[in-house]
Amino acid sequence: MRIRIHHLHTRIALVFVALLLVIQVAGFSVISTAIYANARHTVNDQLSVSEKVFRQLLSSDDEKLRQAATVTAADFGFRAAVATRDQATVESALKNQGDRIHANLVMLVGPDNRLLADTLAPNEAGRDFSFPDLIATARRSGSASKVGLVNGRLYQLVAVPVLAPLPIAWVVMGFAVDNALAVRLGDITSLGVSFLTKTADGKWSLLATALPEDKGQELAQALDQVGASSGSLEIDRSYARFGMTRYGARIISLDQNGQRVVAVLQRSLDEAMASFRRLQSTLLIISVVGFVVSLVGSVLTARSITRPLAALTRFARSLGRGDFEVPIEAAGDDEIGELTQAFNTMRGNLVERERRILDLAYYDPLTRLPNRVMFTDQLTRMIEQASRADTTFSLMMMDLDRFKLVNDTLGHHMGDLLLCEVGQRLSRTLSHESEMVARLGGDEFALLLPDTDLDAAKRFARRIGTVLDEPLSIDGHTIDVHGSIGIVSFPLHGREFHTLMRRADVAMYAAKRVNAGSAVYSAADDVHSPERLTLMTELRRAVESDQLSLYYQPKVDLSSYQVKYVEALVRWIHPERGFIAPDQFIPFAEQTGYIKVLTRWVIDRAMRQLAQWHADGIDLSVSVNVSARDLLHAGLPEYFEGALRRYGVSPQWIWIEITESAVMDDAAAALQTLDQLHQMGLRLSIDDFGTGYSSLAYLKRLPVDEIKIDKSFVMGMMTDNDDEVIVRSTIDLGHNMGLKVVAEGVESEAVMLLLGTLNCDLVQGYHVSRPLPEDKFREWLRQWHASVPANVQADTLDGGRHIA
């Protein structure tokens, strides 16, 4: 991450630096090129101007010389001398006139182009003059001039006629083109001026120059090279490198009739560019300095961007770790500052949100108590602490008795208020900050009591009982609140979280079962204790391997002594343990949910048996016990339906026995299932009637056909008058509601007779018969029918019709 930031910073700097470099280099090279081009241009211009000046100078010199020669030639005495052809006089006159105008040579040329006299070579008169064109031009124009070599020296030659008064001869005067002239021309034009000629061997030879002698020779050599490479000397307006120095040069051809003579004007480019070079150096320095300053600036700028970014990154990382404590310092009011501000706002929002999330995650919104999650955390921490410190603590689990009833009858709002009140009361029992009460869900609460042993925990539980016993009034309703508390202690009841929780739960249900307010965990209550586990496994095996069987206990119609109804009861004959009582495995099956399987097994067997009986001409109806959990399980009516179809059994032969409490726990769902079963044509019977809290209102709402008076009342009716009253009242009540009434637990003839006088419809009990296996039951039934007179049977039929 750091490297990346570094990269960003480097990248920004690099981009800037690269751009600057490009701009600087481009600028520098463009300006340099411009400077160089400008210098060349300037030199070129200078050369052009100078060339014109040079030509002007030459021609003006020329003109002056011409005029001087003209004046000289016009001298009457001179003309007279020429006209008279006196050689000696002519020669002396020529010399004299030449001296007057400082001519270096004077010649007299006759009309036939013959030399009449020559001051340089007095004795060679009669030769042909070397420049006939000069004379021809002079003849045409009155005078003429040219540059020409005479005896290896360069002269500016002018020719003027000698008039007598017609031209009779031409005076040619020559002025040496020497270093002095070159220097003078050079001074005026500010150029290096040289005159060169091409000798017979093709080499350039220096005639005169304003340059130092060695430079002049260099120039001659350079011209040789240029000439060699170009093959021609007509290379004026060119640049050349003469020796080590670069020059802008103009080569002006002074060439006339065969003799190659040039004037070379030259200007040192380096000299001309010296000021430009200084400018260029300054520019270079400015460029370099500018580049360095920009480099530093861009690095600093990049840093100034990336440094706050790095700080932000560190900040964001610490936010990521969940460290919301320290806000980051705002770094100015630029974009970075705004980003920082945004980060801070985000931090604030995160803090707030986390607080809310924690709140939602760890607190129960209704009671404001810690929730299961927080309790779990706390318990886990406490287990760790206690394990390390080898201390003890206690855990309590509590739920409210009959909270469902409150919810159902008074409404959920009332239930919520009750839960809040209970929560507050529980909180009030806490005396230490480390103690904790949590709502685990529904009406289930839990308390965590550090450094509390089992005895202290029991005392604590009693205190809670006392606190809850205080009258509680909500919205004008006085509500009786009782809780069942399960207590476990660490490490006595376990060292593991789940063990502790489950065992507290077990203890709580045990307390609820016995209505004891509170209970300490006991393995005997524990479905998941090793013994119970074995039982579970075995029960499952029993179902699968047909260790279970159905016993049938007859119900006798007191009016006819006919047996038309039997109750199917499940029995477990364990291959090793022998007979296992139903109350040893039925509640267990209910707790584990295995009851569903068991009930369906019973239904299936009972139906099959019923079908068999009817096939055998035995007219019986069968009662099947269905537990509360069966009613809540979906699919029970469908299962019945399937079984009926499977065995071809009529639904009115089936009775379903349910306990009051089965309906009470979740009345709405149970009622729905029962209604459904009733609609199918099955009959319902309330078992153990009188032991629960069921109101008559419930009885009225249920689609009930029969009630079975609990055997505790029946067995006690002979000795306890109250029981007899209850039985009598119940029978009357049932009859008045149009229900059939069955008395259970009939164990003596007297009781049976008494019940008969009370108009009880059916009796069931050991006095009639114990529950019997099917084959024995058949035998019993055969004997019973044999002993009962037929007329009684007929009466019974009538009575039965009457009752129905």
């Binding site: 016009a74 009457f76 007279a80 006209a83 008279t84 009309p111 007598a164 008064p165 017609l166 009779i168």
Partner: protein, 207 residues
């Protein structure tokens, strides 16, 4: 006035010729010469003169001529005269002139002067004399000095008429100042018995 002088001079010359030829009037003839260049354009101021062949040149009569200087020009520009003629050079300008000649036929110089010089110049040798002014180079005059009294100068129409020629053989020579230097002098031979006409086509283009 110049014209008058010239005509007077001419008239006297004709008169003289008439007088000379009086003894042989019957044989005297006129020769009309047409002078032109190669293109046929008339050459004004060209001159012709006739030299008798085999016959003796008639004895000279002393003559005079005048060459004026007017507006920095010699007037006339061309003069033909017989050897021995005295020529006067009146300066009609209000500036001085210095008339000279370097020609071998007559070399002289009239130093700077105004008006009429005291002594006329006698052209005593035949040949061409080119006159100049030492201080005005553009002033040039040509004097053709011939050893015969038979000569004439062409007018603007290029026609020169030699009158009173006695019958006989002549060399007729023509000259024009426009002829190049050293050019051969055009010459025609004629036998004069009566009036006749002659044509010269001079090659003056070379100049």
């Amino acid at each position: 006035m110049i014209k008058t002088v010239y005509q007077a001079t001419l008239a006297s010359a004709i008169c003289l010729a008439a007088m000379l030829g009086h003894s042989a009037i019957a044989s005297a003839a006129n020769l009309q010469v047409q002078l032109a260049d190669k293109t046929g354009a008339p050459l004004a101021d060209a001159v012709v003169y006739a030299v008798p062949i085999g016959a003796k040149v008639p004895a000279k009569a002393p003559g005079t001529a005048i060459i004026d200087q007017i507006h920095r020009q010699f007037v006339p520009k061309v003069t033909i005269l017989q050897t021995g003629t005295s020529v006067s050079f009146p300066n009609k300008d209000n500036i001085e002139h210095d008339v000279y000649s370097f020609s071998p036929a007559k070399t002289f110089e009239l130093k700077l002067y105004s008006g009429i010089p005291a002594h006329p110049v006698v052209f005593d040798k035949p040949g061409l004399v080119v006159l100049g002014c030492n201080i005005h180079d553009q002033m040039i005059a040509y004097v053709m000095v011939v050893d015969t009294p038979f000569f004439a100068k062409a007018g603007a129409n290029g026609v020169a008429a030699i009158e009173g020629l006695p019958a006989g053989d002549y060399e007729i020579k023509a000259w024009d100042y426009r002829l190049p230097d050293g050019a051969a002098q055009p010459t025609q031979r004629v036998t004069v018995t009566t009036d006749q006409k002659l044509k010269f086509a001079l090659d003056v283009s070379a100049n």
